[in-house]
């Protein structure tokens, strides 16, 4: 293909990406936006096989490449199709990580090829890609492990941790300097190893609740590495696409952190400055008021206003349809029902909206935190279903705890508080919730769906 034509088609793919991000920013156009992005990626992938490049024509690696793509599709598509709603965030983290890894590998291979003929700017771009790509790779793996609960979701801090990480950083910089000045493949591989380690150390101390922010940040990082490898490969499309993702990812990270009431700095380095907390095992012996489904049904029946606060447990129990049934029942009795949606309820931003939308809950009943908080004093019952951190007053009262500073749903202001959960175990952030011991709190233990089903029948019987 004529190389100008090739470039122009590449630019069209870039425009698809811009329109894709634009579309993804508005609910109405989001799906089309995603499809446009896929279109752009498809165009880019197809035309690369038709470009005018001497090395290309003589390549006997074509079958390997096509095989690798087929294999990637066979792994990626089923994973994306079969994943449970609750596990999507970690899948996104994983996809991001492999993207970062791919960018780092591309730069390493290109560097092997270019060798001493690389210009300083190209070497710098290579070093950047390898460092940031590897950090993104290993960091994403750790976030995956955290979200999948294959490891603790709490900040992992070990004695002297901040010195280890500082030493690691210095080592990365030193080896980077070495690669730039002395060149050579081996130093580059050492750099990759050090960067992988740094990615792990960088994410370990992040509290579980802040993980989505970190995923978004690593996503922006990967974007920048793609831009840098676009520079080395002289592929304008990669520069545009990578920069777009880098820039939009940075803004998105900031927006997410704001939605959770966290500063980006606090998210990343909070664990070093805050004192580690233990969850206070002693507290668990304190008495709590647990009730039956009938008690809950009665409380609800005589309420004028009920606010339902869904959380991660609702997603786990797949209780969204039962919740809807309950809400419809209450509405039919003339009770004012609203859902109070915390921006970080669940395991990804917007998780609850997605889940409740699936159950066809009317959009108007969903209230955002800022809307619903002022109404709690007029609310008779706050029904908390599988949520914990998002209503934990510790976010206001306990400086230094992992969620300190996060805005919460003020359910304590409601007349009665009902928790539907299976045990006294804490939520994602791993901290005790004092509200469970509050005299106006009633606990209904059990799986959220089972409990709700019982409450619904009890209500019908009343």
């Amino acid at each position: 293909m004529n190389s100008f034509l090739y470039d122009i088609i590449g630019l069209i793919a870039g425009v698809c990406f811009i329109l894709s991000l634009k579309g993804l920013s508005h609910p109405r156009t989001a799906r089309r936006g995603n499809l446009l992005g896929a279109l752009g990626a498809g165009i880019a992938t197809v035309i690369v096989f038709f470009r005018a490049d001497e090395e290309r024509a003589s390549s006997s690696n074509l079958y390997w490449i096509l095989g690798a793509i087929a294999f990637g599709v066979l792994v990626g598509v089923p994973a994306a199709r079969k994943v449970q709603m609750t596990a999507m965030p970690q899948l996104v983290a994983l996809f991001n990580g492999v993207g970062g890894g791919a960018a780092a590998l591309v730069s390493i291979v290109e560097y092997m090829k270019l060798g001493a003929s690389a210009s300083t700017a190209e070497v710098i771009a290579t070093v950047f890609t390898v460092v940031v790509g590897c950090v993104s790779f290993s960091g994403s793996i750790v976030t995956f492990l955290k979200l999948q609960e294959l490891m603790t979701t709490r900040p992992v801090i070990f004695p002297g941790g901040r010195f280890v990480i500082a030493a690691n950083l210095v080592a990365v910089l030193a080896v980077a300097g070495w690669v730039i000045s002395a060149l050579g493949t081996n130093p580059l591989l050492i750099l990759a190893a050090l960067s992988l380690l740094f990615g792990v150390l960088f994410v370990l101390p992040v509290g579980g609740a802040d993980v989505p922010i970190v995923i978004s940040l690593l996503n922006a990082f990967t974007g920048l590495t793609v831009a840098a490898s676009g520079y080395v490969l002289q592929a304008t499309l990669l520069i545009i696409a990578g920069t777009l993702v880098g820039a939009s990812g940075t803004i998105l990270t900031r927006l997410m952190a704001e939605a959770m009431g966290r500063s980006l700095f606090g998210t990343l380095f909070g664990a070093f400055t805050a004192k580690p907390q233990d969850s206070g095992g002693a507290a668990e012996t304190r008495p709590v008021k647990s009730g039956t489904a009938d008690d809950v049904a009665i409380l609800l029946n005589y309420a004028r206003r009920v606010v339902i606060v869904p959380g991660f447990g609702l997603a786990v129990a797949q209780a969204q349809h039962t919740v809807r049934e309950l809400a419809d029942l209450l509405s039919a009795k003339g009770i004012d029902v609203a859902y109070g949606i915390h921006p970080v309820a669940g395991r990804m931003p917007g998780h609850m909206n997605v889940l409740l939308a699936e159950a066809n809950v009317p959009y108007e009943q969903l209230s955002e935190m800022d809307e619903v908080n002022p109404t709690f004093p007029q609310t008779d019952v706050a029904l908390i279903i599988g949520a914990n951190d998002v209503v934990n007053p510790a976010a206001k009262t306990t400086p230094g705890c992992p969620i300190y500073g996060m805005p919460i749903l003020d359910v304590a202001q409601a007349g009665n508080v009902i928790f539907l959960k299976r045990s006294m175990r804490p939520g994602f952030a791993g901290i005790e919730n004092e509200l469970l011991f509050d005299p106006k709190t009633t606990l209904l233990f059990g799986d959220a769906k089972a409990s709700l089903t019982k409450v619904v029948s009890a209500l019908k019987a009343l």
């Binding site: 996809f95 993207g99 939308a357």
Partner: protein, 96 residues
């Protein structure tokens, strides 16, 4: 391509990236992140280029791994984003 051209493209793309997402509502944070994530899967193009040029086995192995990883990133990313957004479509319908 000249350095200044690349820098100009970079700077302009930064502005485009900033502007297009700066008004997104928090409900769409996850799909947007996931969609952006899929877009950087376009590193697949780079992986294919280096794979085609590979002469040594070492280079070929590394670049084929890169192709696999990039494909997973790109294809999986768009599919998972579409799955997330499927539910929003329902919501919009219900909302109307």
């Amino acid at each position: 391509m000249e350095a200044i051209a690349i820098i100009s493209i970079f700077v302009l793309a930064v502005f485009v990236g900033f502007e297009v997402v700066s008004k997104v509502s928090s409900t769409l944070h996850t799909p947007l992140m996931s969609g952006a994530n899929a877009i950087h899967g376009v590193i697949l193009v780079g992986a294919i280029i280096v794979a085609e040029r590979s002469s040594s086995t070492m280079e070929l192995v590394l670049s084929i791994i890169a192709v696999v990883l990039a494909t997973i990133n790109m294809v999986g990313g768009f599919v998972v984003t579409d799955r997330m957004l499927e539910m929003f479509k329902d919501k919009n319908r219900a909302g109307k």
